[in-house]
Amino acid sequence: MLSFIGRSFVQKIITLFFVSIVSFLIIHLAPGKPSQVDPMNPKFTPEVVERFRKEFHLDKPLYVQYVYFYQDLFTGKTVSWKDNQSVLKKIWERFLNSLPLFIVGTLLTWTLSFPVGIRSAIFRKGIFDRTATFLSYLLISIPGFFFAYVLIIFVVTRFHVPVIGMVTFGIGDASIPYILMDRIWHMLLPSVLVATGGIAVLSRYVRSQMLEVEGQDYIRTARAKGLPPEQVHYKHALRNALLPFVTMFGLILPGLIGGSVIIESIFSWPGMGRMAYEAILARDYPIILTVNFVSAVLVLAGTFISDLLYLIVDPRIRL
């Protein structure tokens, strides 16, 4: 057990090292240079560009830049090239903005997908299953941005509440319940959008997983014992059907930092996804690379957690 954790930890560190190299190279291979994002801007005189390149070590060979960058990152000194602010601080602020959206969206997705998927599988080809299947495919095929606009128009015209951004601009001195409601209204649509897409996909997975397990011999054994259907489905079948989702559960973690670029852009939500997107447009390497590195860490941590969870839930996996 301990040796498994140790071995796995070392493996993850090595993987992380390679990820850092590859992402660094990819960023530098991408067309465009940080110093030339806006060549028409009269402020970018050759002298300024030259100073900029010197300042951020862009005139040095790549491997030196690599060392400089990760040295800064680990000492927490990385700054954005755009506004000279600390990258970690910027990310942390954006992260706090994204977090409620992520939590509500994930909770909705995982708590609703399972009942829907399980019910679909148990009453296969019934009315419920057909409806759920139709709605899932509908939601999967409708582009998120289009669905978002439909929802915005509906909510704004029907309930007359503002939904863009995190708070209504200039709400400052309103009463606390009012501010709270305002927050909730603003959060509602983006999280519902995050969740609908998630539910549509995840409930399909749950359904197919459940159907596969229901066809297994041990389910027939359970029925032959005289167990009532609830115990057959929710004890014998569900417990086995859940196993693959342990893997998916571990992969939720990276979603923390990725956020949802499209949804955050539509709702002008100042979250992680939008920051990363804007940083890419501005060739703001420190932000891009830091976001990249942190999400790599989260992916590896997520797989590590799901490995550990497997140990607990699947008796066939022992060390």
Binding site: R223, A224, K225, G226, H236, R239, V313, R316
Partner: protein, 331 residues
């Protein structure tokens, strides 16, 4: 045939499987019975409908696509086919238990052996935790599992194939059922383990005086354990009788073919007999006698008339009027 000695009797059972426009008549008018304290074998090739017949008894045929079209299954004075799902749950495991073919996949991989056995007891009987544990240990001991106290905490993958089948049998025995249906319980096991399991069935039956309905394709197993035998072919009972009658005096060409294709020392060096042709697809069975395309004794009437059961006396019946006439059994 004394009526009161009958434990279960299946009468004219028809189970069809529909898929699209095709309809596979897997079981097509099958009747058989099991008497008290008797071991009955249903023998036949894969796909002849023997497993489906057994599953219908417990109401475990997956519907759709399967559908029980017709027939009665009389057990303890009631027709099982008319019972509700709730009432069937009380029969399953409690009065009629089943042991399946694949011990590797028939046990739930994520629960311990102890869990799965005690569950079978708990569902039908009120029993305290301590005596439940004792009961499980005794059951495992009965089926010959060494160190049962430790085995209770084991998961199925930690046991060998033979041990898993023993656990399955222990589960089936959990509520002292009147009938155990064993669906090819030794097919997936190697021969020495098979012999042990067969021995175990014999011992259990002697000790607990229950009936066993044993489904197999292995005539060697039949000879070893059966009191009476039903030979099935393409959804029908081709021949029935006691073991002696079937093995010494087979009256159906299919049974005769099966027996002729058994290897034995006296046939050493010679080519084994094989029945020509192959089992018909249950969705496209030939008209008349389903066996006639492969039958060495076929007559013109075989392809048009469904064969009648012919009575040879003392419970020996065969569904072949042609051989019946040849032997001069006119009545």
């Amino acid at each position: 045939m004394a009526d009161d000695n009958r434990l279960i009797s299946v009468q004219g059972l028809k189970v069809y499987f529909r898929s699209g426009h095709a309809c596979a008549r897997a079981v097509d008018g099958v009747s058989f019975e099991v008497r008290k304290k008797e071991t009955v074998c249903i023998v036949g090739e894969s796909g002849c409908g023997k497993t489906v017949s057994a599953l219908s008894i417990l109401g475990l045929v997956t519907t759709p696509p399967g559908e029980i079209i017709d027939g009665r299954i009389v057990f303890a004075g009631q027709n099982l086919l008319e019972l509700s799902e709730k009432e069937m749950q009380k029969i399953r495991g409690n009065h009629i238990a089943m042991v399946f073919q694949e011990p590797l996949t028939s046990l739930n991989p994520v629960f311990t052996i102890g869990d799965q056995i005690s569950e079978a007891v708990r569902i039908h009987k009120k029993i305290g935790a301590e005596s439940l544990r004792e009961k499980c240990i005794r059951l495992l001991k009965d089926v010959g599992i060494p160190a049962p106290e430790q085995r209770l905490e084991d998961y199925p993958h930690q046991l060998s194939g033979g041990q898993r089948q023993r656990v399955m049998i222990a589960m089936a025995l959990a509520c002292d059922p009147d009938l155990i249906i064993a669906d090819e319980p030794t097919t997936a096991l190697d021969v020495t383990v098979q012999a042990q399991i067969l021995e175990l069935f014999g011992a259990i039956q002697k000790k607990q005086s229950m009936s066993i309905l044993y489904i197999t394709h292995d005539l060697g197993v039949v000879a070893a354990i059966a009191d009476r035998v039903y030979v099935m072919y393409a959804g029908m009972i081709a021949e029935q009788g006691n073991t002696e009658q079937i093995f010494r005096n087979a009256r159906h060409p299919y049974t005769q073919g099966l027996l002729a294709s058994l290897p034995s020392l006296s046939k050493r060096g010679k080519r084994l007999y094989s029945i020509p042709g192959s089992v018909p697809n249950p969705a496209y069975k030939p008209a008349g006698c389903p066996f006639h395309p492969r039958c060495p004794h076929k007559a013109p009437s075989c392809s048009t008339e469904y064969p009648k059961m012919c009575d040879y006396g003392q419970g020996h019946l065969a569904r072949c009027p042609i051989l019946f006439q040849d032997k001069g059994h006119h009545t």
